[in-house]
Symmetry: C2
Subunit: 99 residues, 2 copies
């Protein structure tokens, strides 16, 4: 079990002093660096490398959400927990028809 | 409350039939589109627009993790729940010293 709000709180406590000083734009650049590393891991990495990069991308997304004052658990619950935001169905009939 | 594994399962049930056919590379492109929309929302969006884009990025990250067979809850718990992966401290003394 790992609650998204709990994870965002861990990242907040672990890193927020520096995060708020750095600000959104510079934090976004960090997130992009990790996204690039995820791309590399998917293309040619081991499972362990992929796992590490997925974790880092999620950690930097949580960091950016902290800087922006966004509650990730709230926003995904609202947008996705009740069904696909496109068609409202629990098994989507719309969005992923797109390739 | 929104457990990360529960969220990943919702996305799995909602979208996985199409996701697996599309594959990793095309799913990564979708994730990048949402990352671009998040950038726009951070730069000039309302709070509501930011919330929607954070939710979409997290949903597509979960989608990509599903396609790659990665358990997001497991990997973030292992890498971050016990302390900063750089210094091991619960309040980081290393990583975010970088600007």
């Amino acid at each position: 079990m790992m609650d998204i709000a709990e994870f965002q709180g861990i990242i907040e406590r672990m890193y927020s002093a520096k995060d708020r000083k750095r600000g959104s734009a510079a934090t976004f650049v960090w997130l992009m660096e990790e996204v690039g590393e995820l791309a590399t891991a998917i293309r040619e990495g081991t499972t362990e490398e992929k796992e590490g990069e997925f974790a880092d991308v999620l950690a930097w997304l949580a960091t950016l959400a902290n800087v922006e004052g966004i509650d990730l658990a709230k926003v995904i619950r609202r947008k996705y927990a009740g069904g696909c935001p496109g068609c409202g169905e629990m098994v989507c009939q719309c969005h992923h028809e797109k390739p």
